[in-house]
């Protein structure tokens, strides 16, 4: 009864679908000089738990902005963003960091490994901020490196690895904190097509293990791995394609 007396939209959103990530009329406006640029102009979409989404669109359509918002690196100008039921737009910087640390894993186009650290230290980075003990996090790093078949490269520096290997290290790092959502920004953009395929296979496998994967790409064949495709155009959703064309 109290639910009726005081309607809680976030509770309602969770109850209506299995949504893990829920955007409601999200806008993002940048100020470029004196001109306002509407990078996102009212996007509403729900990403369900265990989904595999590809966000597509020409450059300037707002893909990166959407990913930054999803990744809690940025806050929407207006609208609501619920991550696992929590309203991200209300959180402060520390709480956003905490959210990234606990719930999200990032995979970047340019891998973004720290070049001074070894493979093992790169994978351990989220665990370090989570405050894990050294021995425990070393074991976890070894386990993850084995999973991405780089168990023998733990002591190497990223520069000594090929592009595909570096991206696998980055995926291992993204998985270290056991996140709900993997956010990938053009994960194959810097790789040749066969290594790119390996990376995409790996992401599919992770999705089949239950991770929600959201990737941004402009390549059709990369997007074809995803179960659903969200097309952005000029900051609004153009169309959503997918298995069961919901929404």
């Amino acid at each position: 009864m109290s639910d009726l007396a005081k309607p809680d939209p976030s509770a309602a959103a969770v109850s209506t679908s299995q949504a893990l990530v829920d955007l409601e009329d999200v806008c993002k406006t940048y100020l470029m000089g004196t001109e306002e640029v509407h990078a996102l102009a009212g996007v509403s979409v729900s990403f369900e738990k265990g989904g595999f989404w590809a966000v597509m669109g020409p450059s300037g359509s707002g893909k990166s902005t959407l990913l930054n918002l999803l990744g809690c690196l940025d806050r929407p100008t207006s609208g609501r963003y619920l991550l696992n039921g929590a309203d991200v737009s209300l959180l402060d910087d520390d709480e956003l960091s905490q959210l990234r640390l606990r719930e999200l894993g990032f995979i970047f186009q340019s891998f973004n490994l720290i070049m001074q650290l070894t493979v093992q230290e790169n994978i351990e980075l989220p665990l370090y901020y989570l405050g894990w003990e050294a021995s425990k996090s070393a074991a976890r790093a070894r386990e993850l490196a084995d999973m991405v078949t780089l168990g023998d490269r733990l002591r190497h520096k990223p520069a000594e690895l090929s592009g595909g290997q570096q991206q696998r290290v980055a995926i291992a790092r993204a998985l270290a904190n056991d996140p709900w959502v993997l956010l990938a920004d053009e994960p194959t953009g810097n790789l040749d097509s066969s290594t790119g395929e390996q990376i995409m296979d790996l992401l599919c496998e992770l999705n089949s293990q239950g991770k929600t994967v959201i990737l941004v790409t402009h390549e059709e064949h990369v997007a074809s791995y995803a179960k659903r495709r969200l097309h952005l155009l000029d900051g609004v959703i153009d169309r959503i394609e997918g298995e069961d064309d919901a929404k």
Binding site: L73, S97, R100, L101, R102, F106, L125, L130
Partner: protein, 420 residues
């Protein structure tokens, strides 16, 4: 918590070691800052401690009147065979003892240079004609025998007391006591040996002097008041009754009034300014004031050099933050909080400045050591200067590391990630 801090420090050290040369150059400013602070303080401390020591040995209750050639005489003495008459008078001693209150004792000192012969050895001695009071005032230990006593003076006994140093030069030992030493054609019985003063030159016994203390009454009878100095063909004669008058006040409060009374008395009875009053207590106070000034000057220099070192650190850390913008972006994207980024950079600067401070301490210990070895100047490295300079260099690290660290943490993660 502690292990986490250790891990952070370990991480910082590792990052710094990636750029060994740069880190080394960064701390160099602090190394020399801290090193020079410690070195300067130790030299200053050594010098002032020596000065204070020397003055303290003169006795804080004492006032020393010395004979000096007045300026007119100095000019006139170039004339051949001129006899200059100056110095303190026997009467001065009597006047002091009889008219000035709060004077415990007034000890006359008369200096004569004569050859002394002991056994087969002949050396020039500095004969010090004085009274028993001298030994009470100077308070030096006896090596053997006895000091001069009142009876020696009253009875005009031909006895003498040697110093330890003089005894060594004359090849005298404790067995020499009771033997005769010939001084300027007179025989004196050696009755005692007293300790030499430690350290450098002193007013009463300039270093490297072979002193023989004899009763002033005997000195006056045998050697008279006229000294003749022969220097390359010319003769210089001077008539001095007393070379020094050591006056001891009964306590530290009366030193100043006694000194004033002495000055007034001397002004009245001496036409020329042929005396000099030195008050160890005043010198002590002055030396202490000088030391304070010295410390302030050194402190300012130290502050400036440490400031320069700190600016060097800030400069390098700002460059490092720019260079590592992308790394900061990655760490932030992964979930590092602002203050974790701050602490990462702050730990690096504090490690840098602490290492710099420690190397600086090593340099600061080495420099005074070298100074003492090569110039013989005394240096004293005090613990407080070590603690102070290390503390300052660490706080320099915090103060000058804070801005770059805050700037690093303030970067927008999205912008930082895009940084090339």
């Amino acid at each position: 918590m502690r292990s986490k801090l250790l891990r952070n420090i370990h991480l910082g050290v590792k990052t710094l070691l990636l750029h060994k040369l740069r880190s080394f150059l960064t701390v160099l400013g602090l190394v020399f800052g801290v090193g020079s602070v410690i070195a300067m303080l130790s030299v200053g401390e050594g010098a002032s401690r020596e000065a204070l020591d020397r003055i303290r040995k003169l006795g804080s209750n004492n006032i020393i009147l010395s004979a000096v050639k007045s300026r007119e005489d100095e000019a006139a003495s170039t004339v051949r065979s001129f006899m200059s008459v100056y110095g303190l008078l026997y009467d001065d001693q009597l006047r002091v003892e009889e008219t000035i209150p709060h004077v415990l004792r007034a000890v006359p000192v008369k200096l004569v240079r004569k050859n002394g012969i002991l056994g087969e050895r002949t050396l020039e001695l500095r004969i010090v004609g004085t009274t028993a009071g001298w030994f009470e005032l100077v308070k030096r230990g006896l090596v053997a025998g006895r000091t001069l006593v009142r009876r020696d003076i009253d009875e005009h006994s031909a006895v003498c007391v040697l110093t330890e140093y003089g005894a060594r030069r004359l090849l005298a030992t404790r067995h020499t006591i009771g033997q005769a030493i010939r001084i300027g054609g007179n025989c004196f019985e050696v009755v005692g040996i007293i300790r030499s003063e430690q350290g450098g030159g002193k007013i009463q016994t300039p270093d490297r002097e072979i002193d023989a203390y004899i009763p002033i009454s005997v000195c006056r009878e045998r050697f008279g008041d006229v000294n003749i100095r022969r220097t390359s063909g010319s003769r210089e004669m001077e008539r001095v009754e007393l070379h020094q008058l050591l006056i001891e006040a009964d306590n530290i409060q009366t030193v100043q009034p006694v000194a004033l009374a002495l000055e007034a008395m001397l002004k009245r009875f001496h036409k020329k300014q042929d005396y000099q009053i030195s008050i160890p207590l005043a010198l002590l106070r002055q030396a202490e004031a000088t030391k304070r000034t010295f410390n302030i000057v050194l402190g300012s220099i130290a502050a400036i050099s440490l400031l320069v070192g700190g600016i060097g650190i800030m400069n390098i850390m700002l460059a490092s933050v720019t260079e590592r913008t992308r790394e900061i972006g990655i760490r932030r994207a992964i979930g590092a909080k602002r203050r974790q980024i701050i602490s990462q950079f702050l730990i690096e600067t504090v490690v840098l400045s602490t290492v710099g401070g420690l190397i600086g301490i090593a340099v600061g210990l080495f420099i005074p050591w070298m100074i003492t070895i090569f110039s013989g100047m005394p240096t004293v490295v005090t613990l407080y200067s070590l603690v102070l300079s290390l503390g300052i260099s660490m706080s320099v690290g915090i103060v000058f590391g804070l801005y770059p660290a805050v700037r690093a943490a303030g970067l927008d993660p999205i912008v930082a990630l895009r940084h090339e």
